[in-house]
C-alpha cells in the first residue's frame, strides 16, 4: 500500500472512464460502480489519514520522478482531513442518489455517474497534490464535471450551467495566469519548492500580480462575495444529487486551495501584512455573510435559499482566512467540515421534499410534510440548529472558534458579523421550521398545494419514508451532534498540528 496516496484519484478516474463501458448493457451498473468507487475512495482516504496520523506527513512522487521536476503528492494532516471529509460526504450523498432512482435524470444515469466520479477525482486531486500546475489540471477536471452535473438538471439548468462555465473558466484562467507569473519568477511549480524560493523574490511585482490573480480565480470557484453570481442559479436548477454534491464539496475545495496557497505556499506574514490579501478576503467574506443571509431570507424556494445560505457560510471560511491567526484558521478548517455535513443534510432533505411532494417551495410547506417525512424533517431541524450555531451541534463550535479568533485579532466588526449571522440564520430557518411543525394544512391546502398523490404515481402513508432517502440525510445531520461534541479531538488531533508557520 505504498502507493495509497495516488490510489484515490486514480481509482476514481479509472472508474469514471470504465463506467460507460461497464454499463453498456445494463444502465443500473453505472450507479453501483459509482457507489463502489466512492466507497473505495472513502476506505483509501481513511487509510491515508491513518498513515499520516501515525507517522506524520507523507509525500508521494508520481512515476518515481523526484520533485521539483516530478509531480508530488503531499499528505499532511490538512489534506488527508479535507480529502476524507469530501469522500465521506460524497459517499453518503451517492447512497441517497440510489433512492431518487434517476427521477431527475431520466435515461442519463450512465454519463451522470461518470461525471460524478470525475468530479470526485478532480476534488481529490486538487486536495492532495503538491504541485501548482497539477492542481490546475485537476481543477479543470473538477470544473468540467461540475458544468455537466449542473447542466443535466431542469429546464433552466443549461443556462445556469453556461453562466457558471463562463465564470468558472475565467476563474480557472486567472489561476493559470497567476501561476504563470509565479513560475516566471520562481522557475518552479512544486509548492514546497516555490515556498522556499518566494521569500527571495517577494519584492517582485510579478509575484504580487500572480498572487492576486490566483486569489481572484479561486475566489470565483469558492463563490466568495462578490464573485458568487453563478452559485444561486446553479444550485437551484441542478438535479438534487448534483446540488447535494457540489454544495458541500465544490466551494470547500476551492476554499482549501486558497488556504493552501496563502498560508503554505506564500507566507502568513506576506499575505497578511506586506500585501494584505487576507484582510481583503476577510472583509469581503463579512459582507458576503450578511448579503447571503439577507438574500436567503427573501427566497421562497428551499434550494435557492440554501444556495444563498451557502454564500453566507462560505463567508465563515473566508472570515477565518481573513483573520490569519490560529483560531481563525481552526474556525475556517472546522467549518469546511461542519458546513459540508450541514449543507449536505439540508440539500438531501430538499431532495426528499422534491421527490415526495414534487416541489421544495417554502411557502407551500405545512405540518402535513412533517407527518409524511418525520425523519427528514428531524434531520432538517438538527442541521438548521447547527446552521444557527446552537450547542451541542457542530455549528456552535465554528462560531466559537471564529469568535475567539476575531477577539484575538481585536476585530470587533468580524465578531459582530459572526454573531449577527447566527441570528439571521435563525430567522430564515425558523421560518421553515414554523411552517413544517406548526403550519395548518387546511389553510395552505386551499391554495392548491399539489397533493403528493396527484404528483406521483405512488402515494405514501403518513409516517413512512423511504429508507434509502431518509437514512443518508439522518446520518449526515445526526453526525453534527458527534462532530460538535468531539470537536476538540478534531481540533487538537488534526487542525492544531498544521497551524501554518508564522501565525
Amino acid at each position: 500500500m505504498q502507493n495509497s496516496p495516488a490510489l484515490v484519484p486514480l481509482l476514481l478516474l479509472a472508474a469514471a472512464i470504465s463506467i460507460p463501458v461497464l454499463a453498456i448493457k445494463k444502465t443500473g451498473v453505472a450507479y453501483l460502480a459509482a457507489l463502489a468507487a466512492s466507497l473505495g475512495s472513502v476506505v483509501i482516504s481513511a487509510y491515508n489519514a491513518l498513515r499520516v496520523w501515525e507517522s506524520g506527513p507523507l509525500t508521494y512522487h508520481f512515476g518515481g520522478w523526484n520533485p521539483p521536476i516530478g509531480i508530488e503528492y503531499v499528505l499532511d494532516p490538512l489534506s488527508v482531513f479535507v480529502a476524507l471529509v469530501v469522500n465521506v460526504v460524497a459517499f453518503i450523498v451517492l447512497c441517497h442518489a440510489g433512492g431518487l432512482k434517476e427521477r431527475e435524470i431520466p435515461g442519463k444515469s450512465v454519463p451522470y455517474y461518470a461525471l460524478v466520479l470525475l468530479l470526485l477525482c478532480g476534488a481529490n486531486g486538487m486536495i492532495l497534490t503538491g504541485d501548482l500546475f497539477n492542481l490546475y489540471v485537476f481543477l479543470e477536471i473538477f470544473s468540467l464535471a461540475c458544468y455537466g452535473l449542473i447542466g443535466i438538471g431542469e429546464k433552466q439548468a443549461p443556462i445556469a450551467s453556461f453562466r457558471y462555465l463562463i465564470m468558472g473558466t475565467v476563474g480557472a484562467s486567472f489561476y493559470l495566469l497567476g501561476l504563470g507569473f509565479i513560475y516566471i519568477v520562481t522557475g518552479s511549480l512544486n509548492m514546497a519548492d516555490v515556498r522556499n524560493i518566494l521569500p527571495h523574490v517577494y519584492g517582485n511585482p510579478a509575484v504580487t500580480t500572480g498572487l492576486a490573480l490566483i486569489v481572484i480565480g479561486m475566489g470565483i470557484k469558492m463563490a466568495i462575495f462578490p464573485l458568487h453570481g453563478w452559485l444561486p442559479d446553479a444550485y437551484t436548477y441542478a438535479p438534487s444529487t448534483s446540488s447535494a454534491l457540489i454544495a458541500p464539496i465544490g466551494t470547500k475545495v476551492a476554499a482549501y486551495v486558497i488556504l493552501r496557497v496563502l498560508f503554505f505556499v506564500f507566507d502568513v506574514k506576506f499575505v497578511s501584512q506586506t500585501l494584505p490579501v487576507t484582510d481583503l478576503i476577510g472583509w469581503l467574506a463579512a459582507i458576503g455573510i450578511l448579503f447571503g443571509s439577507v438574500m436567503a431570507m427573501a427566497q421562497n424556494e428551499m434550494k435557492r435559499m440554501l444556495a444563498y445560505s451557502s454564500i453566507a457560510q462560505i463567508g465563515y471560511i473566508g472570515l477565518g482566512i481573513g483573520l490569519a491567526n490560529p483560531l481563525g484558521f481552526i474556525g475556517a478548517v472546522l467549518h469546511i467540515l461542519n458546513h459540508a455535513f450541514m449543507k449536505g443534510a439540508l440539500f438531501l432533505v430538499a431532495a426528499n421534499l422534491r421527490k415526495n411532494a414534487g416541489h421544495s417551495d417554502i411557502s407551500k410547506l405545512d405540518a402535513s410534510y412533517r407527518k409524511k417525512l418525520p425523519w427528514s424533517m428531524a434531520a432538517f431541524t438538527l442541521a438548521a440548529l447547527s446552521m444557527i450555531g446552537l450547542p451541542p451541534t457542530a455549528g456552535f463550535f465554528s462560531k466559537w472558534y471564529l469568535a475567539l479568533g476575531a477577539i484575538d485579532k481585536g476585530n470587533w466588526v468580524f465578531l459582530g458579523v459572526i454573531l449577527l449571522s447566527s441570528l439571521l440564520n435563525a430567522v430564515y430557518f425558523f421560518r421553515i421550521l414554523e411552517k413544517v411543525y406548526l403550519g395548518t394544512p387546511s389553510a395552505q391546502g386551499a391554495e392548491g398545494a399539489p397533493s403528493p398523490k396527484s404528483n406521483r404515481g405512488e402515494g405514501f402513508v403518513a409516517g413512512e419514508e423511504e429508507y434509502a432517502l431518509m437514512i443518508p440525510a439522518v446520518v449526515l445531520s445526526f453526525s453534527l451532534l458527534l462532530l460538535g461534541l468531539l470537536n476538540a479531538n478534531i481540533v487538537k488531533g488534526v487542525i492544531q498540528r498544521i497551524i501554518p508557520l508564522g501565525m
Binding site: 446552537l390 447566527s422 406548526l438
Partner: protein, 499 residues
C-alpha cells in the same frame, strides 16, 4: 477561606442525564399515555433523589465534580455540584415533581394535543437546567443555557395559535440574541483570562483592565443572562410567553428558565467578576439601578393586567429583580436574601400559577375581572392563592418575608437606604395588585353562582403542597433542604467572609 474538597463523582452527570434519557423514552411511548407519564414521574423522582444525595456533601463543603471531555482545547465540558449549584438544582428538580403531577392533571383535564412533545420537551428543559446549575465553567454554562432556550421553544408555542406562535418568535428573538451576547462575553473573557472556570470571588484574578472594557464586558454578560432574568428593558418576552400552557408558565417561567437567568446573574457577579471588581468599576451600582427600576416598573405594570397570568408574569419580572438587587448590593445579608428568594419566590409563584391553571381547567377563567366569588367554589385553590399572594407581598409568616427581611438588612449593611425604600414600596405595590384578586374571589358575589368543586386532585394536591411549603419555609427557612445554610455558605464563599 479553606478550599473546598473536590471529589470525582457521577452524581452531577446522573442529575443531568436522567431526564435526557427519559425524553426519548417519552417519545417512544407516545401511544401509551400512562407509560409515558410514568417516565416523566420516574425521571423527576430519580432526579430529585440524585440532587438530594448531593446535598450532604455540599453542606460539608465537599464538591462533586464530573468532567465529560474537552469541547474546546483547554476547556472541558464539566459539571461541579457546588453549594450554589446544589441550591438551584434542589429547587428546580423538587418543583419538577410537583409540576409533573400537576401537568398530568392539567393536560388531561383540558385534553391538550401533542402531549408527548410537551412532556419530552419538559424533560429536556430540566436536563438543561441541571446542566446550568452544575456548570463548572462559562462554556458549559453557555452550552446548557442555549439548549434550554431551544428546548423551551416547543413549550411556548405549544398551543399553536397565532398568539402562541408570535410569542414563540418574540421569545426566540430575545433569547437567541442573549445567547450570542453571552457567547461574545464568554469568548472575550477566555481571551483575557485564559480560563473560564467559575471561581468564588471572581476569575479575573489580578488582570488589570481598563474600566471601559470591563463595562462593555459586563454589559455583554448582563445582556446574556439578563434576558432570561427578565431585567428591564429585556423582559417583554416573559409576559408574551404566558401563551404557553400554565404548567409551563409555572415551572419554566417562574422557576427553571427565569431562575437560570438570575442564577446566571449570581454566577457572573460572584464567580466571574467577583465583588472587588464589581465595586472597583461601579458595576454593582449599574446592576442595582437596573434591578431597582425593574422592581418598581414591573409592579406598576402588573396593576394594568387583567389577564391573571400576565399579572403574575409582571409580578415575576419584579421579583426576579429582587434577586438581582440582592446580588448587586454585595453585602452578606443581601446575597443570602437574594438566594433565598430564588427558592422562596419559586414556591410562592408556582403556587399562584398552579392556581391560575386550576381556574382555567375547572372554569376556563383567565381574567381577574371574571373571578368574582370563585373562592367559595374552589376554597383550597384560592386559599393557596392567598397564601402565595401575601407571601409575595412580604407578610410573615410566609417565606417571602424571610428573603425580603434579609434583603432589607443587606441594603442597610451596604449602607444604602434607597434599595430599602424600593423594597418597602414594592411590598405595598405587591399587596396592591394581589389584594383585588383575593377580594374578588372571596368577598364579591358571582353573577352566576358556581358549582362547588375543585380541579382534579392531581392539580389540587401540588397546589396545597407548594402553599404549605411556602408557609413552612417561612417558619423555618432551614427546613428539609437547608436553603438557609446553603445561602449562607454561598454568600460566605463569594464575599470571602465565612465558611
Amino acid at each position: 477561606m479553606t478550599n473546598p474538597e473536590i471529589y470525582r463523582s457521577l452524581m452531577p452527570f446522573y442529575a443531568v442525564m436522567v431526564s435526557l434519557i427519559a425524553a426519548p423514552l417519552i417519545l417512544m411511548s407516545s401511544r401509551q399515555a400512562n407509560l409515558r407519564e410514568f417516565w416523566t414521574l420516574a425521571a423527576s423522582l430519580v432526579k430529585f433523589a440524585v440532587v438530594f444525595l448531593l446535598l450532604p456533601g455540599a453542606l460539608a463543603g465537599r464538591i462533586a465534580e464530573f468532567i465529560f471531555w474537552e469541547i474546546s482545547p483547554g476547556i472541558a465540558l464539566s459539571l461541579k455540584a457546588d453549594t450554589l449549584g446544589v441550591f438551584f438544582a434542589l429547587i428546580a428538580s423538587g418543583l419538577w415533581i410537583l409540576t409533573s403531577f400537576y401537568s398530568i392533571g392539567y393536560v388531561r383535564g383540558l385534553n391538550e394535543h401533542k402531549q408527548t412533545r410537551y412532556f419530552a420537551s419538559f424533560a429536556v428543559c430540566l436536563s438543561a437546567t441541571m446542566g446550568i446549575a452544575f456548570a463548572a465553567n462559562l462554556l458549559t454554562f453557555v452550552f446548557f443555557y442555549e439548549i434550554l432556550t431551544i428546548a423551551t421553544y416547543p413549550l411556548v408555542i405549544h398551543k399553536e395559535t397565532k398568539v402562541a406562535i408570535a410569542a414563540g418568535r418574540k421569545y426566540l428573538i430575545y433569547t437567541l440574541t442573549a445567547g450570542v451576547l453571552l457567547i461574545a462575553a464568554t469568548a472575550w473573557t477566555y481571551r483575557i483570562t485564559g480560563a473560564l472556570d467559575f471561581r468564588a470571588g471572581g476569575l479575573f484574578g489580578n488582570t488589570s483592565l481598563s474600566p471601559s472594557i470591563m463595562m462593555v464586558l459586563f454589559l455583554l454578560f448582563l445582556g446574556g443572562v439578563g434576558v432570561k432574568a427578565a431585567v428591564m428593558p429585556l423582559h417583554s418576552w416573559l409576559p408574551a410567553a404566558m401563551a404557553a400552557p400554565t404548567p409551563v408558565s409555572a415551572l419554566l417561567h417562574a422557576v427553571a428558565v427565569v431562575k437560570s437567568g438570575v442564577f446566571g446573574v449570581v454566577r457572573v457577579v460572584g464567580f466571574v467578576f467577583g465583588p472587588e471588581l464589581m465595586r472597583q468599576f461601579g458595576l454593582n451600582t449599574l446592576l442595582a439601578i437596573f434591578a431597582g427600576a425593574t422592581i418598581i416598573l414591573a409592579s406598576l405594570l402588573a396593576f394594568r393586567q387583567d389577564n391573571l397570568k400576565h399579572r403574575l408574569a409582571y409580578s415575576t419580572v419584579g421579583h426576579l429583580s429582587y434577586i438581582v438587587l440582592g446580588a448587586a448590593l454585595l453585602s452578606p445579608a443581601s446575597l443570602i436574601g437574594g438566594l433565598l428568594h430564588i427558592a422562596n419566590h419559586a414556591t410562592m409563584k408556582i403556587t399562584l400559577f398552579f392556581c391560575a391553571g386550576a381556574l382555567y381547567v375547572k372554569h376556563h377563567k383567565e381574567k381577574i375581572s371574571e373571578l368574582d366569588g370563585i373562592g367559595r367554589a374552589m376554597p383550597w385553590t384560592m386559599g393557596a392563592f392567598t397564601v402565595g399572594a401575601i407571601g409575595l407581598a412580604g407578610v410573615p409568616p410566609i417565606n417571602g418575608f424571610v428573603s425580603k427581611w434579609q434583603l432589607g438588612l443587606g441594603a442597610l449593611q451596604a449602607g444604602e437606604i434607597l434599595p430599602l425604600a424600593i423594597l418597602v414600596l414594592s411590598g405595598l405595590l405587591n399587596a396592591g395588585y394581589f389584594a383585588p384578586i383575593v377580594y374578588r374571589a372571596f368577598l364579591k358575589k358571582p353573577a352566576v353562582p358556581y358549582e362547588r368543586g375543585e380541579a382534579p386532585p392531581a392539580m389540587v394536591i401540588p397546589i396545597v403542597v407548594t402553599a404549605l411549603l411556602s408557609l413552612l419555609l417561612g417558619l423555618n427557612p432551614d427546613l428539609f433542604f437547608h436553603f438557609y445554610r446553603l445561602a449562607v455558605m454561598v454568600s460566605g464563599s463569594i464575599l470571602g467572609g465565612g465558611p
